[in-house]
């Protein structure tokens, strides 16, 4: 059963009728985009606008966690100057950008793509394994973060952890490595945890897009004589670009701001090896009570992500979504 070929139409003409109908259509056409946006935008504005503004205002004050009622002292850019001069900031920035974000995002996109492509193959569908496969993919996501990290901490434990026991028994190691305790291995451990738990999102998102590609396109390409690899590069991946672009943007922003995984796994340690911007912000605001300084870290994070989003938006995003 084939699908009837999609008709190629000339651009829609305004509804027929008199001048009244014409201007009615134009008006509707003008305000409609905004009306459709209204529910989403109003929720966001009401909920986020004031807190975000509040945070920016806080960052210009010297204020303690307990002084919100009284108000703090206005210090202008002092917090930001201190932030830039603090050696810990540079360390946290490097950790956040390279280890926490770049590393895990690229691993997730690569592995996610592979897995999504595998799950989309005909053989899986033919053997009726799709449901099972897709459900297995979702399992890491279903585990609450605090339990997931605890499970991994135990799995990576130097003596009793499954990973080390396997490595020792197969002779690859003489003694277990305390992955989370050693500076040289701790980031790999955290990377494993983050990638493991957040991979399902990428897989499902890409799979959904893959599923929207009708089989006929593949058949047509095969009839034209293309082999599997050419199909992948010239048919599948280009059609995946919009969703791939969106997913990359989303997980980058989200991972950059992430606090929970590093905090639960190592609290930013050992020493300050795994300190990231989000944990630095938490420590300054809630442990050192320097709310203004913590807010400044938050503003720094927001600025970096804003710049990234705008740049990304004007390059990869626009290209992939083909808009002006």
């Amino acid at each position: 059963m084939g699908v009837t070929p999609l008709p190629r139409l000339s651009p829609a003409k305004p509804g027929s009728g008199g001048r009244q109908a014409l201007s009615g259509y134009r008006l509707r056409h003008l305000i409609e985009p905004y009306v459709l946006l209204l529910p989403a935008l109003s929720v966001l504005l009401v909920f986020f606008f004031r807190p975000a503004l509040f945070n920016i205002v806080l960052s210009f004050q010297r204020i303690s966690l307990f002084e919100l009622g009284r108000g703090g002292k206005w210090v202008g850019l002092a917090n930001f100057v201190a932030l830039v001069q603090d050696p810990l900031t540079e360390l946290a920035l490097r950790n956040t950008i390279f280890w926490l974000t770049a590393m895990t995002v690229s691993l997730r996109i690569a592995l996610g793509l592979v897995l999504a492509l595998l799950l989309n193959t005909l053989v899986i569908r033919r053997w009726h394994l799709s449901g099972l496969a897709r459900s297995l993919v979702l399992i890491p996501w279903v585990t609450p973060p605090v339990v997931a990290v605890a499970a991994w901490q135990w799995l990576l434990q130097a003596r009793y952890g499954a990973v080390n026991q396997l490595l020792v028994e197969t002779g690859l190691l003489t003694d277990g490595i305390p992955f989370l305790a050693r500076s040289s291995t701790v980031w790999w451990a955290i990377t494993a945890i983050v990638v493991w738990r957040e991979l399902p999102f990428v897989v499902i998102a890409l799979l959904a897009s893959l599923q929207s590609i009708p089989d006929e396109i593949y058949e047509a390409a095969r009839i034209d004589g293309a082999n599997e690899r050419r199909i992948l590069y010239h048919v599948t991946l280009p059609l995946l670009r919009p969703v791939l672009a969106v997913v990359t943007l989303l997980i980058t922003i989200w991972t950059f701001n992430n606090f929970l995984y590093v905090w639960l796994a190592t609290r930013g340690g050992p020493g300050v090896r795994t300190q990231v911007l989000a944990t630095q912000m938490y420590l300054e605001a809630f442990v050192n009570y320097r709310l203004g300084y913590g807010a400044a870290v938050g503003v720094l994070m927001g600025l970096i992500m804003l710049v990234f989003s705008v740049v990304y938006f004007n390059t990869a995003f626009k290209k992939s979504l083909g808009q002006a």
Binding site: S64, L65, F66, E67, L68, G69, R70, Q153, W154, Q157, A158, R159, Y160, D175, P178, L180, A181, R182, S183, V186, T266, R267, G268, G269, P270, G271, V272, R273, L283, F286, V287, N288, Y289, R290
Partner: protein, 444 residues
């Protein structure tokens, strides 16, 4: 598929409609709440921070109160301890919050100074708690000037815990008395018991993580205080200053780092920040560790898990004295409360002997302590004795420095030294610098 689509298109407007109606409804209901009539039921909210497994006795006590006081009903609320302070501060500043709250010793003064807790002095004068204020321990911690912001409720400390059978096997007849003895004994207790070529029994274990809530802080302070030093001290003129030099701190770092360099403590503990971690709690049971450092609650859990008996014993003596930290919780009243009198009545009840009959914590009152101590099993007797050596963080609190910040800085610098990120000298210098910064900030 069609059906799913239709369902979706119908369901969505229905849900949105329901939501908006319910939103409107709740706003209207809130506006229309009638003012409470006089001589009515008062509902108090009591908040504490420990998990259900530890507070069964407390719940019983609160239930007993509710049964005996039909006009003052208390609702029991739990916010996990690690988030408790931030949440309390948020709520009180917004105008809400519980009526009576359990607050840590070290936050009470800070919260009180910022106007986030009610001054209890008028209540204490009018209707004294327990056997009177002088019977309570460590009241100065909740005191700022002539105001008292929190009534000490429970006290706790940590002690050394060990497996008597493992010490016996290694030929150690008495538990080490000084810190040096401890290091030596721990070395003798680090063995390869199965002959597999790998150490499977470590001499001394403690959660050496770098997190702001880690346990290194308590051991470091015990070491410092027992040797007559402290992070903060007052000079002759009464001014507060940092009481340790970089060399002093380096000395402490050298001591504790030696446990790792001599492989007397497993390296993996550098990643463990708290006692509740399974690696710590079960270590005595499994025989992985011969000696650890625990609170009472952790000890009880570990004892349950261990087929071999374990015992509490005193912390090592330094050159000057024996010391350990005296931690604890106070009870405070929210200035936003609508029923301050009733809140005080309930607070007094919580601090009474009736509550402590079922609540298995140590009361911060001399008169009641004896009662509770009498009920302790043999293995826990040392805990009661250790409490007498307990030193509170009063110096740190009075110096004006942020104690939580000191705690975080200590664990962080020690953690950096343990993991080799910094040399001992560098770590010592950096920690003293951080202490000075905290002290300076506190003075502003």
């Amino acid at each position: 598929m069609n059906r799913a689509r239709v369902l979706f298109c119908l369901l969505v407007p229905a849900v949105v409609l329901a939501l908006s109606l319910s939103a409107a409804g709740s706003v209207l209901a809130a506006a229309a709440t009638p003012p409470q009539a006089a001589a009515k039921k008062v509902e108090l909210l009591f908040r504490q921070g420990d998990p259900p497994g530890e507070v069964e006795g407390l719940v019983k006590a609160v239930d007993a109160w509710n049964a005996a006081h039909p006009n003052i009903q208390v609702k029991f609320e739990t916010v996990p301890w690690k988030d408790a302070q931030a949440q309390l501060v948020r709520e009180i500043q917004a105008g809400g919050g519980p009526d009576v709250a359990q607050v840590a010793f070290v936050w009470t003064a800070d919260l009180g100074k910022s106007g986030l807790l009610t001054d209890l002095v008028p209540f204490i004068k009018a209707s004294p708690p327990g056997k009177g204020l002088q019977d309570f321990l460590a009241t100065e911690l909740g005191t700022v000037g002539d105001k008292i912001y929190g009534l000490p409720w429970t006290v706790d400390t940590a002690t050394m815990v060990y497996r008597p059978d493992l010490l016996e096997k290694a030929g150690i007849s008495r538990f080490p008395d000084t810190w040096e003895d401890l290091a030596r004994a721990a070395k003798r207790l680090t063995l390869d018991t199965k002959g597999s070529g790998r150490t499977d029994q470590y001499g001394f274990c403690w959660p050496a993580g770098s997190g702001p809530d880690g346990a290194t802080w308590f051991l470091v302070n015990a070491y410092l205080w027992s040797n007559g030093k402290s992070f903060m001290k007052q000079d002759a003129g009464g001014k507060w200053e940092v009481g340790v030099s970089p060399q002093d701190v380096a000395g402490v770092m050298r001591y504790f780092k030696s446990f790792f360099t001599e492989k007397v403590t497993p390296e993996s503990l550098i990643a463990v920040s708290w006692e509740g971690d399974p690696e710590m709690v079960g270590s005595l049971a499994r025989g992985t560790c011969a000696i650890t450092n625990f609170r009472l609650a952790t000890f009880r859990l570990a004892a349950k898990q261990s087929p071999q008996p374990i015992k509490m014993t005193l912390e090592p003596k330094g050159s000057v004295k024996r010391a350990s930290h005296l931690g604890g919780r106070t009870l405070a009243i929210n200035p936003n409360t609508k029923s301050p009198q009733e809140s005080w009545e309930f607070l007094k009840y919580l601090a009474s002997s009736e509550t402590f009959k079922t609540y298995n914590q140590f009361p911060a009152q001399k008169a009641l302590l004896a009662e509770v101590q009498a009920r302790l099993p043999e293995a826990e007797k040392a805990y009661a004795e250790q409490l007498t050596y307990g030193t509170s963080f009063r110096d740190y609190i009075f110096s004006g420095a942020n104690v939580n910040g000191m705690w975080a800085a200590t664990n962080r610098e020690f953690g950096a030294v343990f993991s080799g990120q910094k040399t001992i000298e560098q770590g010592g210098a950096d920690l003293v610098k951080a202490m000075n910064a905290l002290l300076a900030e506190g003075k502003k």
